[in-house]
């Protein structure tokens, strides 16, 4: 077991983890933050996307020990005072989600994208979200949501 110090959604945690523990299972099973989900085992689907030091990463590709000393933001840490974050609000208004399973990852990837590129073109959005799969929406309204969030 390894000791890690990790900040998650602004809260510091000191935890013992197995060296093979993936960050996503640390978040889900040790911290009970089940908003971040697992959709594949090949780092393809992006459902587990979180922010590590502000940058979007697939948390199934990162070991918990690699996040030692880092600040992680999950979907639970995105809104404030009960209000949805602008990206969450845009996904709601544009019907950018159906079953909602890929949504936390899609939202976190969008937050990461807009931090790097505040007003992306349609094409840029489609390529930036290439690593996040959605089987419900055909992406039409996800692209609309990202644009609406960028304009908000």
């Amino acid at each position: 077991m390894r000791q890690i110090e990790i900040s998650v959604n602004g809260e510091s945690h000191s935890a013992e983890v197995e060296p093979r523990q993936l960050l996503v299972y640390f978040l889900r099973e040790q911290l009970g933050l089940t908003g971040t989900v697992v959709g594949c085992d090949t780092s393809s689907c992006g459902s587990c996307t979180v922010l590590v030091d502000g940058e979007s990463v697939k948390s199934c590709t990162v070991l918990a020990v690699q996040a030692d000393g880092r600040a992680v933001t999950t979907i639970e840490g995105l809104g404030s005072n009960g209000e949805l974050h602008a990206v969450q609000q845009a996904f709601h208004e544009q019907h950018g989600l159906q079953c909602g399973f890929c949504t936390p990852g899609m939202v976190m990837a969008t937050v990461g994208l807009l931090a790097e590129s505040p007003s992306p073109s349609d094409d840029e959005i489609r390529h930036a979200l290439e690593g996040n799969l959605c089987r419900c929406t055909g992406y039409v309204n996800i692209v609309e949501a990202v644009k609406a969030a960028a304009a908000a």
């Binding site: 959709g39 090949t42 208004e93 019907h95 159906q98 079953c99 089987r135 055909g138 992406y139």
Partner: protein, 786 residues
């Protein structure tokens, strides 16, 4: 009851979804999020061979591993089963339905067939220990190709049957042989509907909690069909239906893949019974690829007979459809869901259809979005383009010449289309796509020998969904009814509970059904609570598949509100001391004609609860249930147009425009309907251009992950341009039709017709799906069908 024009506030409006907020916050109830005290994890040991005798299974090393609670071979669990896993659709009297236990004991029949289970204290410990189970296999020759499996010398999947034929199912109307012999023109085409893997992003997951004191079991499952699972798993496990509660909490994308009753559900139930503790299993993606049903995998032959002027007179179809290694819930019936649609939206006289179902050493096939109808639409729409080519006629003109125009219309296959307007949707789609402008651009590119060629493809379609009239389902040997149920419970505080027998997994039922209830009962939408997916809370239900939830469940809800309003009217008439006929009803309020005296349904709900002043003989409470059995299928239709650009030097196909004009009757929530169409189109386009499950000669699935199986991302798809025409269904009071599958049903043919149109100057008449660059490039080089 006197009913004036109802004030509609919500129906027809793009009401933002009530489901969203907690999904967006990650406050979700996926089964995999759930943990119970004392819970253990199940891992399944699966055969790596597609076909092999099992000569020894030894779980002792797994049992000795740290954190392992139990381990069993298939033989060791044999006594647990009261019956097979269910197949509810033996399509003929002699249809072969092989015994299918959750673990196989004698022979593995596909790569992924379960042979043992290990139960451990954690997900990881169970998985580690599963690696320690020793299984001796004697590999046998395997057959994965459906065309080969039907041959005389093919390896036999189920020894008892002697060969791999499961059934032959015919449907014939009219003197087809005469019509073909008299035809001025005929075409005969062969298409391959490749095997697809549904790839819902949410893996399946099951958690069973036993209550030892009462012998009751609660199963949470990521399923589309909690009610059907309860009935059938009772038969598989011997747990009485009265002791089994199935809950579908938050369930993600199904697309048919969760319209099934799976081995792992049965295994978790019997392990919980045997071990007396909660048992959980969550599918890994690599497991999903082999252990969750696949779709399509059908060889099609279609012939059209036509006059010299292009009037189609008869259709003849022969299918060879892969069932996979076993019959899952509705495997045999999937081709039948398309069997009536091979003449499409065209007025045809003669109809001759036959399907042979065939076992192969592969993952079982079953319902994947559209289920039988994308295949039918593909065959007729591609064949119509071939006929147009042969007649040197514009494909639009040929379609117009053959459209069914009068409704209700009895189609060649014998069913009745209730309403539609195929010209209207085609007209609008042509306008949106600028057909003349497109053809000019195409001619210019062809003229200058541009390396980038463009093509346009049409798919004018009609489909049958909203499964379905129970009597018809009975006549085609389906094992259950097609009704659904809804309960409306008006509570004394003015809030309304709506209990529905459908079970959503992304379709937005909570919002759509709230819109219906809120408008009908005149309450704010926030005051409506929709409950679903729990067999104890909602005992009556037939669940969600086949685009049935609004067309059947939503209509049941409408009828339940009618019943509640009728009872409220008795209460109001009594309290206002007028005759029931003296009341007008609109938007939740009863008004005495010619006065301003009124009472609301909400007022009546409180009165019904206090029961202080009710008419003699009227029971307290304001609640009622309606069970609706539809008199006909639901018949959406429309026109989809795809425009592709093909790089003739590389074979790469880019979908540059996609226009869809659908007719799904009256629309409750246009935003949700658009979303359903978008998602459906994406899946149909993916079949045309990207997705294909491939087995190697030994029966290994070589496309067994999201790395090798191409689920489209946003980067592979364009924006879809979606509009509607509206031909209300006359068979239900809301005029609604199903919409969940239209996009998938229509789009594959549109895209492939566009690909072939782009390549027609090269002499190409067909390209096998998916139209990946290599195939397209070869087709160009060979100047003919690839």
């Amino acid at each position: 009851m006197a009913t004036t024009e109802a004030r509609t506030t919500y129906i027809g409006a793009p009401v933002e979804r009530k489901e969203d907020a907690r999904l967006l916050r990650g406050e979700t109830r996926w089964v995999d999020n759930m943990t119970l005290p004392g819970m253990v994890w199940m891992a399944v040991v699966r055969s790596p061979y597609a076909h092999a005798k099992i000569t020894r299974v030894d779980v002792s090393k797994a049992l000795a591993a740290d954190g392992v609670v139990a381990a069993f071979s298939g033989a060791e669990l044999a006594d647990e089963w009261a019956g097979s896993l269910p197949c509810a659709w033996p399509v003929t009297g002699d249809c072969h339905i092989p015994q299918h236990h959750p673990l196989t004991a004698d022979k593995a029949r596909y790569a992924g067939d379960g042979v043992a289970v290990v139960v451990g204290e954690s997900r990881a410990l169970a998985k580690d220990a599963a690696e320690l189970v020793e299984v001796d296999y004697e590999p046998l020759p395997a057959v994965t190709d459906v065309g080969e499996a039907i041959g005389d010398s093919a390896p036999v999947v189920h020894d008892d049957y002697g060969d791999n034929r499961a059934y032959t199912w015919p449907l014939k109307n009219g003197d087809v042989d005469r019509l073909f012999s008299e035809a001025a023109v005929t075409v005969k085409e062969h298409y391959r509907q490749q095997r697809l893997i549904p790839n819902a992003i949410v893996p399946r997951s099951v958690l069973v909690q036993p209550v030892l004191a009462t012998g009751e079991y609660t199963m949470w499952s990521a399923t589309q069909v909690p009610h059907i699972a309860r009935v059938t798993l009772s038969g598989t496990t011997g747990i009485p239906e009265t002791k089994l509660r199935v809950i579908a909490p938050d369930v993600g994308g199904g697309f048919g893949s969760k319209l099934n009753v799976y081995a792992e559900e049965a295994l978790c139930l019997v392990l919980a019974r045997r071990l007396g503790v909660p048992v959980k299993w969550t599918e890994e993606r690599s497991e999903n690829y082999v252990a969750t049903i696949h779709g399509r995998d059908v060889l099609q032959e279609i012939e059209l007979a036509a006059t010299a002027e292009g009037k189609i007179t008869a259709v003849r179809v022969r299918l060879v459809a892969a069932m996979g290694a076993y019959m899952q819930l509705v495997s045999p019936g999937i081709p039948l869901l398309g069997a009536w649609l091979y003449a499409g939206c065209y007025d045809v006289e003669g109809y001759d259809f036959e399907c042979v179902g065939v076992f192969t050493n592969t993952t079982p096939t079953d319902a994947y979005r559209g289920a039988g109808r994308p295949e039918a639409t593909y065959a007729i729409e591609r064949a119509v383009d071939s006929l147009a080519h042969k007649l040197e006629m514009d494909p639009v003109e040929l379609r117009r010449k053959n459209f069914i125009t009068e409704f209700p219309a009895t189609i060649a296959s014998g069913l009745e289309i209730d309403s539609g307007d195929f010209h209207a949707s085609l007209d609008r789609a042509l306008e949106l796509v600028d057909y003349d402008g497109f053809r000019r651009d195409q001619a210019e590119r062809r003229g200058r020998g541009d390396s980038k060629q463009v093509g346009i493809g049409f798919s004018t379609y009609v489909e049958m969904c909203g499964l379905a009239p129970s009597r018809i389902l009975g006549a085609i040997r389906y094992g259950a009814g097609g009704w659904d149920a809804a309960t409306v419970r008006c509570l004394p505080t003015g809030t309304v509970q709506v209990l529905v027998g459908t079970s959503p997994h992304g379709q937005g039922h909570v919002t759509t059904f709230s819109q219906i209830a809120a408008d009908r009962l005149g309450v704010p939408i926030e005051n409506v609570e929709v409950l679903h997916g729990d067999t104890t809370v909602i005992p009556l239900g037939m669940d969600t598949y086949g685009s049935r939830s609004l067309a059947v469940g939503g209509v049941a809800l409408y009828h339940a509100t009618e019943k509640v309003i009728a009872k409220a009217q008795k209460i109001v008439a009594h309290q206002l001391e007028v005759a029931e006929d003296d009341l007008d009803y609109a938007g939740g309020r009863f008004t005495v004609k010619g006065t301003d005296k009124s009472m609301t349904v909400t007022d009546a709900a409180l009165s019904a609860w206090t029961a202080h002043n009710l008419p003699d003989g009227l029971e307290p409470g304001l609640e009622d249930t309606a069970v609706y059995d539809p008199p006909n299928f639901s018949w959406p239709g429309g026109c989809h147009i795809a425009v592709v650009e093909i790089d003739t030097e590389t074979g790469a196909v880019e979908l540059v425009r996609y226009v869809a004009v659908d007719d799904v009757g009256n629309v409750i929530n246009p935003m949700i309907v658009d979303g359903q169409v978008h998602g459906g189109i994406a899946q149909g386009v993916a079949q045309a251009l990207l997705e294909e499950a491939i087995y190697d000669d030994h029966g290994n699935l070589t496309t067994g992950s999201m790395v090798s199986y191409l689920v489209p991302s946003a980067a592979e798809l364009p924006r879809f341009e979606v509009e509607r025409t509206e031909s209300p269904s006359p068979t239900n009071p809301m005029g609604v039709k199903g919409v969940g599958e239209t996009g998938t049903i229509a789009s594959t043919a549109a895209v492939m017709n566009a690909v072939v149109d782009a390549l027609s100057p090269y002499g190409v008449t067909d390209v096998e799906m998916p139209a990946k660059p290599e195939r397209v490039w070869r087709a160009i080089q060979e100047g003919g069908a690839s």
